[in-house]
Symmetry: C2
Subunit: 479 residues, 2 copies
């Protein structure tokens, strides 16, 4: 049961129709993080519901309640739950994407109006907010559906859709919905695997499948002493200065080479197997790739695998800044009374916020005690999330790999990402099935930046990839 050739022909023939569909979606500025754009997020949900229903999908929109944003209480955009196919002999695949976008203004430095899809024929790029994150991938599934419907082709699997409108704003309400809809007779009942298309290739050349994400634990370390900010002329060298204590504490967290200094953390990291090590060695990646994306030759190592493992399978500790200290341009001679250092640790298996927190807090307290300071220390965990890793040998990945090889004539990179996509872990834990991250866009798409783009080839070949993946699941998964 391989993909009928007419599927590919239809997609190629309807390239400009599919681009038009993306243009319509990009024209709706569905920014979830700004209350004044909220009606457009709803408008976007109606657009998608209409497209799905026109293709025979049974759709239910779920009211996720209200939120307070920019000082006003407003309605959350709905989750869109769709369902097509109920054949017990077929696998049931749960798809996820989001229809909201990051903010964008022409004045931020865009070369084109961000909410007007601009097709640069020379480079073959489609510029616009949401083109790659995540309207292109979401519409990719709709393109696949249309192709099957219009050709009278039966879908090789049962499909379930879960599209949300709050991903760029913390996925408010979604976790509860997912947990509520698990169980006999509920929406997610019978799902065999999950496919999320909301990430990117490692580079701009080679497709990838992503089987891991790092978690995070975010800390705020506060040192306070004086009752008010003091003048450094009057109080310098007479009192314990909170900044002196804080800077010293922060300096004891991580070395310039990235090594974390908190005892016990290293022991929590899952050991590296030969098989896993080899995955990094074969990735299509070079030091110049990372230095190009950072914009400067600042990689921690000249060894490609070491750098990749630093991002993908080892923790990291970044110092983000200090709240309460002087942060403006110019020269102010203040001794700040209360300063809070912010840092986060990216977590990898088998670290969790629960096993990391006590190590961090104990260490900071012990180091602070060594300072013999009369100031006070407080350590808070501001938020946390566990890391996620899936079995990349699962049939879900095998199918995606075959699909990639068919469409791109390339073996996909098998990657883990350094950041977090919290819904991934929610699906994995709530549904208890394998989850696959199958990206459409490239590493240089600039998802949250100015001039976000999606290459036409990624959109069209990506549509083919998603369709082929469904057929490969049907062919590959055990009956």
């Amino acid at each position: 049961m391989s993909v009928p050739n007419q599927f590919y022909e239809y997609v190629d023939q309807h390239k400009s129709d599919f681009i038009d569909r993306l243009a319509k979606a990009v024209a709706i500025p569905s920014v979830s993080g700004d209350a004044s754009y909220r009606e457009h997020v709803f408008e976007m949900s109606r657009f998608i519901v209409k497209e799905l229903e026109a293709l025979g999908v049974k759709v239910r929109t779920v009211d996720l309640g209200k939120q307070v944003l920019d000082g006003q209480e407003i309605q959350l955009p709905p989750a869109i739950l769709g369902s097509i196919g109920d054949d017990p002999k077929k696998k049931t695949i749960q798809l996820y994407a989001h229809y909201d976008v990051q903010p964008a203004l022409l004045s931020d430095g865009w070369d084109h109006e961000p909410f007007k899809l601009t097709h640069d024929e020379k480079t073959g790029r489609l510029y616009g907010r949401g083109s790659s994150d995540d309207k292109g991938p979401l519409l990719g599934w709709i393109n696949v559906l249309e192709t099957h419907v219009k050709l009278g082709l039966e879908l090789p699997v049962n499909l379930r859709f879960c599209f949300e409108g709050m991903e760029e704003s913390g996925s408010e309400g979604l976790d509860d919905l997912i947990k509520d809809e698990v169980g006999p007779g509920k929406f997610f009942d019978g799902v065999d695997c999950v496919c999320i298309s909301d990430n990117y290739w490692l580079n701009d050349r080679t497709p990838c499948l992503t089987y891991g994400l790092r978690g995070i634990s975010y800390y705020k370390v506060t040192i306070s002493g004086p009752a008010r900010d003091l003048h450094s002329g009057v109080f310098g060298n007479t009192v314990h200065e909170p900044m002196t204590d804080l800077i010293l504490l922060m300096s004891r967290l991580v070395k310039p080479n990235g090594e974390i200094l908190i005892p016990g953390l290293e022991q929590l990291v899952a050991p590296l197997t030969d098989e896993e090590k080899q995955r990094y060695d074969v990735l299509d990646y070079s030091i110049s790739d990372i230095e190009q994306s950072a914009g400067a030759p600042v990689a921690l190592s000249e060894d490609k695998s070491a750098v990749l493992m630093g991002r993908m399978r080892y923790p990291s500790l970044s110092l983000h800044g200090i709240e309460g200290a002087f942060s403006a341009p110019g020269a102010k001679t203040v001794i700040p009374a209360k300063v809070s250092g912010k840092f986060s640790i990216r977590l990898v298996p088998n670290m969790t916020p629960d096993n990391v927190d006590p190590l961090v807090i104990t260490y900071l307290k012990a180091e602070f005690a060594k300072l013999n300071s009369k100031n006070k220390l407080e350590v808070e965990n501001l938020h946390g999330g566990k890391p996620w890793v899936a079995d990349p040998n699962h049939w879900n990945y095998v199918a995606a790999k075959k699909a990639t090889e068919t469409v791109y004539k390339k073996t996909p990179d098998l990657t883990r990402e350094g950041g977090s996509i919290p819904v991934t872990l929610t699906f994995a834990e709530a549904l208890g099935v394998n989850v696959l991250l199958l990206p459409m866009g490239r590493g240089d798409d600039g998802a949250h930046s100015t001039n976000e783009k999606l290459d036409v080839s990624n959109y069209i070949e990506g549509t083919k990839l998603l369709g082929t993946y469904l057929w490969e699941v049907a062919a590959t998964a055990p009956k």
Copy 2:
């Protein structure tokens, strides 16, 4: 030639007139740091000129040119140069004060309208912006003049006034004026000593004379690497993070106990003599004084003299903050691309910005080299000023000491201050004569804070002190 008793009687009898004079001055919001208040600074200058001329002072206002403030080019307030008496047999005393004030809004947390002098009869305090800094002391001289004129008393010395309207905004234009007016036939020709009344007692109990000020050297250390801010999920543990380098560098500048770690600095500090050490031992000061002003028990030592010397005769290094890092509330997972640490060193004899700069820069470069970072370091000195110290055994001080003992029945504390009053050094260097800081207000006046106040007793006894000082100079100074 001691002070005629009628001088004291007149001052006591005219207490409420003198308070009225202060109320009129406080009612003019002569804020020099805000362009929209500039006309009031001019209004204040006219108020003073009128008062001086009415008492027989020859006044010249000097146009100091223009400045750019809040985006507009505006006229600087004039320097007021006044002169009364030209008797070659008398000493000539140069007086300095300023007629501009810090900003103040009721909404900042004042209990009363800041530009309406409020007399709290219960506590004997006069609340209002500028009451203590520096309109009270400036009017103190005018009260002294009035008393002599009204009583038909001949002044025991020749007086020269230099009152400026830009002290709270960097004394723009004044340095050049002072240097220009030195030399035969110029305004400052023949000046024998300088008396500046623009500082405070060490506490709220004991008058003081101040014979030293620390200087300052303010640094900006910038670490840059990536071309743009990076996501810590994607780049954490893959690139050299500027914050990691900067925090480590800043941690190597000063210890929690205040000890500066820059080699060579300590050797620049003038050795402590027994005579000087004794001055600290006898000061009316306790650890609870400093902890009360800091608002918490955070003194670096339990030894009073050690804490005082930390402020007055040893350098200090304070870490003020970081520009370019995340400084808002909340949790942002950024790796800032370029961060600038700000710190300053308070300088004491024999340190100068010129001999300190190379030590700081060399040390930071050497420490940065140890980090083996691929980021870049830049060190800048944002501004600097030399420390100042006068001979407290000079007749100028002896006269002030006698005057204090006469008026307050107390031996004044002999103090040095931890901050800077740059005009002091300008006078000392340009005129080459002894300079005395003779404060009117108390240590708890809250000069730049909300609820600035001057005690009625400090205003009235302070007026007596200034007058008595003039007579003591005449009696004490060698002919």
